[in-house]
């Protein structure tokens, strides 16, 4: 009979009973230690903030204690302003990000595969990538008015460049073997795009998305600050105008939490999508 012992131990794939050996009990994994240390660092910083502000190291107007800031967020949460502001900011950031990705990924793939597309987009991307995208805000306001549309387009515009650049780089250095395989099974050029190039470049594309997402968050907040209105950025600018330092810090804490949640979520998506990749089995 065939010897199956040459299978490496792997998660989920082996149904053979050989691999069901009882695991030696390890109470503390390195991953848990990592998380514990990170939580401890955040807690220590929060503690320094709280007690530094409370016991006179700093003027409480310039740096209100963390507990006061959290109390304000809680009040506004109950009053309903925080959910609206956070929701709007999140909506603008994610919609803009999604538009940037949906346009950026195919553009990047086509740039890598077609000289014609590359000739057209390469100079645009080279010029656009290092440029501060926010400089285009006045134009977008002129073109698309001052409401959500211009903000979302601003965000999409800023997300587009890192996605295109990463996708194009990822698709330019593809291993030829899976492509040859697909062609020998009769895949047509157009099918290759979605069936082979896209999944093969997925690690680099996701890296591009992971750069684009925080960029999109920053652009959202800055755009809201510049244009006013509802949203976390707008609320912070209003608080600043009324010399409400607690309100400004409440905005900062909200942005930190929002950014953390969104970035972590994308990491989870990455792990899901790249389940096949050796990087997921470190």
């Amino acid at each position: 009979m065939m010897n199956m012992a040459d299978a490496k131990p792997l998660a989920g794939a082996g149904k053979s009973p050989v691999q069901k050996a009882p695991r030696p009990s390890r109470p503390i994994s390195p991953r848990m230690v990592d998380i514990a240390v990170q939580v401890a660092v955040v807690a220590a910083l929060a503690g320094i903030w709280e007690f530094g502000a409370r016991f006179g190291a700093l003027n409480p107007f310039l740096l209100p204690p963390l507990s006061v800031v959290l109390g304000r967020i809680w009040e506004d949460l109950i009053a309903g302003t925080v959910p609206v502001d956070l929701g709007l900011t999140l909506y603008r950031a994610l919609t803009g990000f999604a538009i940037g990705a949906v346009i950026g990924i195919p553009t990047g793939i086509l740039m890598a595969r077609s000289a014609l597309v590359r000739w057209f987009f390469d100079p645009l991307v080279s010029i656009g990538f290092p440029m501060p995208k926010i400089a285009f805000l006045p134009i977008f306001i002129l073109w698309f008015d001052i409401y959500d549309t211009s903000k979302i387009i601003m965000v999409a515009f800023s997300c587009f460049f890192p996605v295109v650049a990463a996708t194009c780089a990822g698709c330019s250095s593809l291993d030829k073997w899976p492509i040859w395989s697909a062609r020998s099974f009769g895949a047509k050029e157009r099918e290759l795009l979605w069936e082979v190039y896209l999944p093969m470049a997925m690690p680099q594309i996701l890296t591009g998305l992971q750069v684009a997402l925080p960029t999109g968050m920053i652009t959202t907040i800055v755009t809201e600050m510049l244009m006013g209105g509802r949203g976390v950025g707008g609320a912070m600018i209003m608080a600043g105008r009324f010399a409400d330092s607690v309100g400004v810090f409440a905005g900062i804490v909200q942005i930190i939490i929002l950014g953390f949640v969104v970035v972590k979520s994308l990491e989870i998506v990455r792990r899901r999508l790249l389940i096949w990749h050796p990087e997921s089995r470190k």
Partner: protein, 277 residues
């Protein structure tokens, strides 16, 4: 050791075997730049309809290159390659290939790798399931259907690649050292399995190897290639019974032929090492 003899899945479509005709084919790598490297030099070879043909030669003599040319993966620079369907210009599902380095889709599970080719070949959903199961069983990967290539050993990946290619039941089967990553036992089983499939389904097989015994065991005819630049030095008929099992290894004709071919191959290998100095 036993060979699984499952009933082959019924075929819904006819796959015609085909002859392959290679005339005056040469290939130079880096031809457009100065100092291109001549890999194949004036290859002439006619492989008959339904023939099992082995290409035997030292490493670097252009065996893979010749297979890629037949497969249509690299353009023919000089000469002409045609099958019964006409001149070869591009890859196509009439000529399926098992690559030397497997070339599985790393983002697909073993089963999805096999299903991909079946889907492209136009089998209906029920046939796809049935054929995928049959060929995964045949290469003894049952239980690993949902594993990704990166989770498998080299030998298992190679078997997955073989299952994926055999499943589509091509008229012409190109195999580039397809058992190279397998241990001796598994290799033997797969060789017998391949002979059986070939005998039952009438395919033209071009099989690259540098294992003399493997070539003699499998082939109707063997081409021995010279060291670089690759030329066809000898073409040898293997007059052994169609039915070949374990017992043929002790057959005197088998042993004699193997030794004869071994001497011819060694000449080339010696020439290759001399050429390298």
């Amino acid at each position: 050791m036993s060979v699984t003899h499952l009933a082959p899945p019924p075929r819904s479509r006819a796959h015609a075997a085909s002859s392959i005709s290679i005339s005056d084919v040469s290939h130079t790598y880096g031809a457009r730049t100065a100092g291109g490297m001549l890999a194949l030099d004036g290859i002439n070879l006619d492989i008959g309809d339904g023939e099992f043909h082995c290409l035997l030669g030292p490493s670097g003599c252009g065996k893979s290159t010749l297979l890629y040319l037949i497969g249509g993966f690299i353009p023919v620079q000089a000469g002409m390659i045609s099958t019964s369907a006409g001149p070869v210009t591009a890859p196509g599902p009439d000529r399926s290939i098992v690559f030397q380095n497997f070339a599985l889709f790393p983002w697909k599970t073993v089963k999805d790798n096999v299903l991909y080719g079946l889907k492209k070949a136009g089998f209906n959903a029920a046939e796809r399931e049935q054929r995928a199961r049959h060929y995964i069983d045949m290469v003894h990967l049952t239980g690993f259907e949902n594993a990704y290539p990166s989770q498998l050993s080299g030998g298992m990946q190679q078997r997955a690649a073989i299952a994926r290619t055999l499943a589509v039941d091509p008229g012409i089967l190109l195999m580039d050292e397809p058992f190279g990553a397998l241990d001796a036992q598994t290799r033997r089983v797969m060789q017998e399995e391949l002979r059986t499939i070939w005998r039952d389904s009438r395919k033209t097989v071009v099989f690259v190897t540098h294992d003399v015994q493997e070539a003699v065991f499998l082939a109707d005819r063997i081409s021995i290639m010279s060291a670089r630049p690759g030329r066809i030095q000898h073409v040898i008929d293997v007059d052994l019974p169609k039915e070949r099992g374990e017992e043929i290894l002790e057959n005197r004709e088998f042993i004699g032929l193997s030794e004869h071919i071994w001497r011819l191959v060694r000449e080339q290998a010696v020439a290759a090492t001399r050429g390298a100095h």
